[in-house]
C-alpha cells in the first residue's frame, strides 16, 4: 500500500510554542493533503488541507507548508494552547479514487 511517513511520533511543547509535524510521501498520484485532529475517544476531524499547486496555506493558528519537489509537507501550530493537545494525522488522497491514506500520527501535548 502507498505510504505516508509522519514524524515525530510524539511532541511536547509549552504554551505559546510552535510545534511542527512533518510528513513525506512517494506517490505522485496524490492530489490532496489534509491534516486531521483527533481527541481521545473521538473520530478524526479535518483541521486544514492543501492541494499540491499551493506552497502554503494558513487558517488561524494552523499553517501547512508544502514542498512538491521534495514530496514533503508539514503542519505548524502557532501560539500553541493546551486545548491543542491531541493526536494529529497527515493524510494523502489518491487522485480519482478518493482513497485517503493516513500517516502514523503525532501525539502533541501542550503544557501551560
Amino acid at each position: 500500500q502507498q505510504q505516508v511517513k509522519q514524524s515525530p511520533q510524539s511532541l511536547i511543547v509549552q504554551k505559546g510554542g510552535i510545534p511542527i509535524i512533518n510528513c513525506a510521501y512517494e506517490n505522485t498520484a496524490f492530489d490532496y493533503f489534509p491534516w486531521y485532529q483527533q481527541f481521545p475517544g473521538k473520530g478524526p476531524a479535518l483541521l486544514i488541507a492543501i492541494r499540491p499547486d499551493v506552497s502554503e496555506k494558513k487558517e488561524g493558528r494552523f499553517t501547512i507548508s508544502f514542498n512538491k519537489s521534495a514530496k514533503q509537507f508539514s503542519l505548524h501550530i502557532m501560539d500553541s494552547q493546551p486545548g491543542d493537545s491531541a493526536t494529529y494525522f497527515c493524510a494523502a488522497r489518491e487522485r480519482n479514487t478518493d482513497k485517503l491514506i493516513f500517516g502514523t500520527g503525532t501525539r502533541l501535548q501542550v503544557f501551560p
Binding site: Q6, Y32, P44, F89, T97, D98, L100, F102, G105
Partner: protein, 115 residues
C-alpha cells in the same frame, strides 16, 4: 446536520467469536469508508463504498471480515471469527462522493477488544 452514527461504541468478545458494527453516514453522502485504527497507529482503510458498490477492499482480510452497504445508505462490518489482533477502533466515515473537496466526516468509532 447529524453526523456519522456508529454502534456499538464498545464491544468485548473472546477470540473466535463474531461481532458486527453498524454505521449510518451523513444523509446524502454517497461514499462510505470503514477504517481500522490500532492503538498508536493511523487509520487504515478496510473498505470503501460508492453508493452500494465496492470501490476498494484491497486491505480487507476477506477470510474473516465482511462488509455490506445495502441500498447505498447504512453499512455493516462483520468480523467472524475474531482474532486477538483485531482489537482496534473501527471508524466509519462518509463523504459526498468522488470529485468532492476531499473532507471525510468520521464517526466516533467502535472500540473492539478481543480477549
Amino acid at each position: 446536520e447529524a453526523g456519522v452514527a456508529q454502534s456499538p461504541r464498545y464491544k468485548i468478545i473472546e477470540k473466535r467469536q463474531s461481532v458486527a458494527f453498524w454505521c449510518n453516514p451523513i444523509s446524502g453522502h454517497a461514499t462510505l469508508y470503514w477504517y481500522q485504527q490500532i492503538l498508536g497507529q493511523g487509520p487504515k482503510l478496510l473498505i470503501q463504498f460508492q453508493n452500494n458498490g465496492v470501490v476498494d477492499d484491497s486491505q480487507l482480510p476477506k477470510d474473516r471480515f465482511s462488509a455490506e452497504r445495502l441500498k447505498g445508505v447504512d453499512s455493516t462490518l462483520k468480523i467472524q471469527p475474531a482474532k486477538l489482533e483485531d482489537s482496534a477502533v473501527y471508524l466509519c466515515a462518509s463523504s459526498p462522493g468522488t470529485g468532492y473537496s476531499g473532507e471525510l466526516f468520521f464517526g466516533e468509532g467502535s472500540r473492539l477488544t478481543v480477549l
